[in-house]
């Protein structure tokens, strides 16, 4: 076994190979038991590094989905019928919505429910973004967009900003080269932002609030740490 193939075995396990190189290693493993054993040795030796990734509990629906996929007998013979939801909660039940808030979980649901109840005069939003803190995923702001031309930034609480700093609001769609500033935001205050100068709002569009100098970013790009971040999801 030459040195190059040994190195490929190690880097296959490490993860640095391209799709084509990975296929070549897998093809060789299928034909060459000694080579497959060499790859397995690397798997066992590098496995302890996997402990560096912080565990994340999957949502309960993932096991239910697995049971359906594999057609397993369900642990619960009788599924309880859920009570019908009030109208303002139905949107929150969409899969896309839950995926977008990820770790924010029930706290976000409760807060969002409260926001929705306070805003009965607004037409149903077409896009919703929950901005969460990157560290602990605590929800801090909600963005509602009742059409694709304007967004409402709604605080869910108060947020301290150092005296010489300001919060700057940014957005970036997947196919844009760089984030675009939507202006400075006063902590704890609502903000309506027209999107006239930008293309229409897109699903998955990124929104974030960063900490910048008091007069805003000097470069026109985010320069400070992200305080809150989230992506737009279509809601029912």
């Amino acid at each position: 076994m030459n040195t190059d193939w040994n190195a490929q075995a190690a880097e296959y396990v490490l993860g640095t190979l391209s799709a084509d190189e990975r296929r070549a290693v897998e093809a060789r493993m299928a034909q060459d038991p000694a080579y497959a054993a060499e790859v397995r040795r690397w798997e066992e030796q590098l496995l302890p590094l996997a402990a560096l990734a912080e565990p994340m509990a999957p949502p309960p629906r993932l096991w239910a989905r697995l049971e359906r996929t594999l057609n397993l007998p369900s642990a619960q013979a009788v599924q309880p019928t859920p009570a019908p939801l009030p109208w303002w909660q139905r949107g929150w039940q969409s899969l896309a919505f839950w995926r977008s808030v990820a770790g924010a979980g029930m706290v976000a649901a409760a807060l969002l429910g409260a926001v929705a109840l306070q805003e009965p005069e607004l037409p149903a939003p077409r896009f919703m973004v929950v901005l969460v803190a990157p560290d602990d995923r605590a929800p801090g702001w909600v963005i509602q967009a009742s059409d694709t031309r304007q967004v409402n930034l709604i605080p869910l609480g108060t947020f301290e900003v150092p005296p010489d700093k300001a919060l700057e609001f940014w957005t970036k769609a997947d196919d844009w080269a760089a984030p675009v500033s939507l202006g400075l935001v006063a902590p704890g205050q609502r903000l309506q932002v027209p999107l006239d100068a930008l293309p229409p709002l897109q699903p998955n569009q990124l929104f974030e609030l960063t900490l910048e100098p008091a007069t805003g970013s000097p470069t026109g790009r985010p320069t400070g740490p992200i305080q809150f971040i989230g992506r737009a999801v279509p809601v029912l």
Partner: protein, 191 residues
């Protein structure tokens, strides 16, 4: 049911091979949170990470008959299945569209700086990690810090040579050489 230290992965996988769905559920309860953490760290997209974890457990169930305890640990086999499913998905997608252009580098840099560098520093001081990683921790310590970061960016964050070079501001050839030499050094240290 929380994960337990004395879980018998091999017996559970062999039970899966006999069609015992309760054994798969025990494996899921034991390892799904750790595996989701591994996948999410690499793909940084929770809906996608959940899809991949789902697919990994489908494979674990369907391929459990091919698990051979003589060739390695049951837990290691589950990580192998899950990591390579994830790496193949990442690399196949990169072949279609360059991942660098599909994500916001500024955002990722901030999140990664937290996740990787700080995570590593915390883990370095974490006694539980030191014991769980055993000799690996000592062998990693012997690598120069920038080379150690390359290995961790590759294995834990799922980055390619080019992505690591870009992240560290180091020439691609240097990163490739560092990684090759580090792997050789790790193997010598671990043997």
């Amino acid at each position: 049911m929380p994960p337990t230290d004395d879980f018998n992965y091999e017996a559970a996988l062999q039970a899966c091979a006999r069609g015992d769905a309760a054994a798969l559920q025990r494996l899921y309860q034991q390892e799904s949170a750790r595996l989701l953490g591994v996948v999410q760290r690499m793909v940084r997209n929770l809906p996608w990470a959940e899809d991949l974890l789902h697919d990994a457990f489908v494979q674990i169930w369907q391929r459990s008959g091919s698990f051979d305890p003589a060739k390695g640990s049951g837990r290691g086999w589950m990580y192998t299945v899950t990591r390579h499913l994830t790496l193949n998905a990442l690399r196949n997608r990169q072949q279609e569209t360059a991942r660098e252009t599909a994500v916001d580098e500024d955002t990722l840099d901030v999140l990664d700086a937290h996740a990787s560098v700080q995570g590593w520093r915390e883990a370095e001081q974490d006694f539980a990690w030191q014991t769980s990683t055993g000799r690996m921790a000592g062998c990693l310590e012997q690598l120069e810090p920038e080379r150690r970061v390359c290995i961790l960016h590759a294995y834990v964050d799922g980055l390619t040579h080019a992505e690591i070079a870009q992240r560290l501001g180091t020439p691609l050839g240097t990163v490739k050489a560092w990684i090759r030499r580090s792997l050789t050094a790790l193997r010598e240290c671990l043997q």
